[in-house]
Assembly symmetry: C2
Homo-oligomer: 367 residues x 2
């Protein structure tokens, strides 16, 4: 079967089978005006997303929680999270954005004040430039180190989680440092704290993550259950998205600059990087004209799919032109590169004014 | 050798030999106007107390940190800590009193708001009634759960402590819960935070503890060393005091009411409890007239030594009258019981007005 939305790079089917994640396609039809990320199967799985669909349909309160860990530069793969937030904002969600400075400290040895600065100049600036509206009500941004409520909740929850369990989930050993061992509880509290009385009590909550984060989601859901009597927590829902592939064909990663298009790249650099990306082309032009290209293995096609082509019709055409050998990689790359250039021209312009606003957000949020 | 200050109940000499605690007697002569607890060997050991002596002599800044864990009722043994604080307050120390509500939660399942109330109605009320002056400058009382600075410092310090180390010190196992495992770091931060810039930077700090707390002091000193470059910490000093013996001859403990005289007891009850206490008397009066009593094994004598008799001369007389068989247990108990009654009459009266003041202390200290 030909599927313009599929990817050959990671076996997402297997993740679904092994860990009890449900295919997103099962409830896609229930979502009103789903975003491209859902329609195109980039968001491929979920847990208990039904209660989010219901909340959206019935216009009742629900929350979205998605943290940012300030530890380097944002790349174009990170745009996926912001796109989801923008969509959820339109659906009336309460949005919670923890800035994981405590995690940055234990995982990367980045000091709190450095994290704060990085969150402003890099992360929040990009979130604003990408179109998330921080002037709307019900959008909560905070530094973990500044949030007493979250810290105290983490500590309270820790009473019903033992060392064996943490070792099994995170692979901790005797040489693991105590901050590193403790910080997952902060993240659990990030996810559950919108359900505290202070924030209006229990409500459906969704956490959009990559599948590598699922063990953490499972722990959070287990802990929610253990404290059900006390806090009346509703087990948080989650969605799982595919990773964006790096320019080299490996995972895109900020720590490997050759794999990534950074949101702070100039339009020229971004465009140039598209041209350098690994494609699903054949060994020779002749071969490709005969057999067609392999968009499922093409980084450029993924960029079109995830970010650059809004119209499904247009994308399908491009997919078939590739598959049927009508359009070769050179032409396609030129086209994609132009689109990327335009996208980055707009982004760069917006970034210039966004930083000032980003700084205000955190100074308003000191607790 | 006859020593009116000695105790046969715990082998404190052994503690000194095994763990590198230094005998307090070595520097007693350097302390100006030492309190009875020091003169009488109840404070029997120390680590690095020399730098506290120096700070007191040179009138430079130093701090005392001693927490309270709100988990029940205060007994007369706890008075020892308050007596030390009163003395240190006179010596010009900065006083820090963390209320260990986080510890109470993980160790005793006491909620934060319950801890707060217990700290007010029981602990702070007694501290005030016993004579500690909370209206002076440089006395800092706080709830651990309310102190962001202490919580963040704990987390920062945890980066250089690993799981093996915590297991070795505290005997943690796989079934230990994560809050319980984490809370020692909060206590380490309680001790070290007076040395942060926010509180005037590095300074000698003393922590008066029972010898059972020494592993914790050693960990704190080790961690201070590991963060020396960053915070310029001076390793905290400590003093070690003997425990007060319970009425039954075992350790006095709030959780075993038969062993304890509670500070909230009425004067009549307190006086009666003295009369019921185990003494160092012989099997028969004749025997005792002949051989004398054994004050080293006498709970009543310990009360005189620790709390009831201020004059050394008077105490020595009582000691010798016992040793020489001049005064029998009945007479001695009557005398001690009267003194206890007087002490409790005054304390009860003061407690009545103290609670209102205690409540104000914590409401002023919300951060």
């Amino acid at each position: 079967m030909i599927d313009p939305w599929s990817s050959a790079i990671v076996d997402y089917e297997k993740l679904i089978e092994q860990f009890g994640i449900k295919p997103f396609s099962d409830l896609l039809d229930d979502v009103e005006n789903p975003p491209n990320l859902m329609k195109r199967g980039i968001i491929f799985g979920h847990r208990d997303y039904g209660r989010i669909v219901k909340a959206m349909r019935e216009k009742t309160e629900f929350a979205v929680v998605t943290g940012m860990m300030p530890s380097g530069k944002m790349h174009i793969g990170h745009k996926m999270i912001v796109d989801q937030l923008i969509w959820y904002q339109k659906q009336g969600a309460d949005i919670y954005i923890p800035i994981a400075d405590m995690e940055s400290y234990s995982a990367r040895n980045i000091e709190f004040n450095e994290s704060r600065e990085l969150a402003i100049t890099e992360y929040l600036t990009n979130y604003i430039a990408l179109g998330l509206d921080f002037n709307k009500k019900n959008i909560n941004v905070y530094l973990q180190s500044e949030n007493k409520l979250v810290q105290n909740l983490a500590y309270m929850l820790g009473r019903k989680v033992n060392l064996n369990e943490m070792k099994a989930i995170y692979g901790f050993t005797g040489s693991t440092n105590i901050s590193h061992l403790y910080v997952p509880l902060i993240q659990v509290a990030d996810i559950l704290h919108p359900q505290l009385e202070e924030f209006g009590g229990p409500k459906p909550t969704v956490v959009p993550v990559g599948p590598d984060q699922d063990p953490h989601i499972r722990l959070t859901r287990d802990i929610a259950e253990r404290f059900k009597n006390r806090f009346k927590f509703i087990a948080p829902s989650s969605t799982y998205h595919r990773f964006i592939t790096g320019l080299t064909g490996d995972k895109m990663s900020s720590s490997k600059p050759k794999t990534a298009i950074f949101l702070s790249d100039s339009p020229e650099i971004a465009a140039k990087k598209v041209k350098s990306a690994k494609t699903g082309g054949r060994e020779s032009l002749e071969d490709q004209r005969h057999h067609g290209g392999i968009p499922e293995e093409c980084v450029v096609y993924e960029m079109l799919l995830y970010h650059l082509v809004n119209s499904d019709k247009e994308l399908k055409e491009m997919y078939h032109n590739c598959k049927e050998g009508n359009v070769m990689c050179g032409e396609c790359k030129n086209h994609a590169s132009e689109m990327m250039m335009k996208f980055f021209e707009q982004l760069s312009k917006r970034r210039q004014v966004a930083e000032h606003e980003a700084r205000k957000i955190l100074s308003n949020n000191v607790r």
